[in-house]
Amino acid sequence: MFGLTIEQIAFIFRGAGWTIVLSLLGFVGGTILGLPVALARASRRRSLRTASGLFVQLVQGIPLPVIMFVVYFGISIGGYDVPALVAAGIAMTLYSSAYLGEIWRGCIQAVPKTQWEAGECLALTNTQRFVFVILPQALRIAVPPTVGFLVQIVKNTSYAVVIGFFDLTYSAKVINNSTFMPFTVFTLAALIYFAICFPMSVLARRFERRLSRN
């Protein structure tokens, strides 16, 4: 097929599988770390805002491949030999938590102040107000940009190639090295990336439309 053997195509698809695995790691890790980042960024405590703001600025100010290198070699210097998947997973977690944290901070703050006030006047505690009044409304606002950011996560996992992680980009490179058909091989890789990302952008747009209707 296109001058490639079934084995070679299967090899590329195996890489695509690891791209999805790393994307999921980045999203799950980014969610677990991003939620506290968002809460800290929206907090009334100045120290929490400053600390989380510093973290976000730091991560957003460093290119993702450099984060990958730092995490990968940083762990090796510590004397631990970790698989590239773990290092890439940590790097993706740091990266997506900083961006998701900022996205969700915006969503929390997009809920009108009067909703906090209404909860306050009904004698709800701070936690109760956040959990029962603010969070459900923030979540609704958060769905479209979050799904949209998933697309960024999937595409950016390709940087893991710099630390030798076997993903879609890496497997395509390997097949190109043996077949010398760069256009065919990377077009195939591009199509696979697109096939993963396109449904998510469609979904994000649909969520966005539904939200603006309400």
Partner: protein
Amino acid sequence: MNIAANPQRATEIQSMTRSDTPLVRFQGVRKSFGELEVLKGIDLEVKSGEVVALIGRSGSGKSTALRCVNGLERINAGELTVCGRTLHDGKVDLRDLRQDVGIVFQSYNLFPHLTVEQNVTLAPRKVHRIGAKEARELSDQVLAQVGLSDKAKNYPEQLSGGQQQRVAIARSLAMRPKLILFDEVTSALDPELTGEVLRVIAKLAAEGMTMMLVTHEMAFARSVADQIVFMHQGRIWESGKGDMLDDPQTPELRQFVGNGL
């Protein structure tokens, strides 16, 4: 001390307030926002069962005075006592206070992601820890009080402005407050929707609910309020019974009433 958890203390306070002790007492209350002093020494008493209407131009301090009563604004000087608690010494437990003092806002501030019934029962379930069955009965009861029994399962966005404001009143009633504050609750409504909200408030007044209301509805204030307070430039300019509007003692009130009618 948590008064809700201590019935004996609650009864004590009730019997205290039922006697001559006013439910709300302002004594020389001052409040500033930065350089701007919006309350310049307010003296006011609201007795149990009384309806007090605060009137005056925008910026006269009437809404601020109201918001001080449930601790949304902290006073800078003077003494303010509400339902047996002192608000001027910084020691008051605001959550405890707000179980006794309800407030209804101009913009309703209903929770858009919850049904009418959930809006009404959220605080009683979380704060008073009542069960699901009790919550449903409570919801039925307070929604009947505002004439919206058939809307329990609707979401706020499915209701008219007047209906939403009545839900906000029901939500406040569900906490069984001793006092309800109404902050320009009809100002955001079309004239034809104002009536249904005012009728609900008048009914509550007739049932003996203690209320303070900031309002621009002069005819309503005259007919429902036991005491009308005209505020001007952060002071109480004139106060009295409903008929004080017919015979203003100051040029400011005369002008205000003249413009209002």
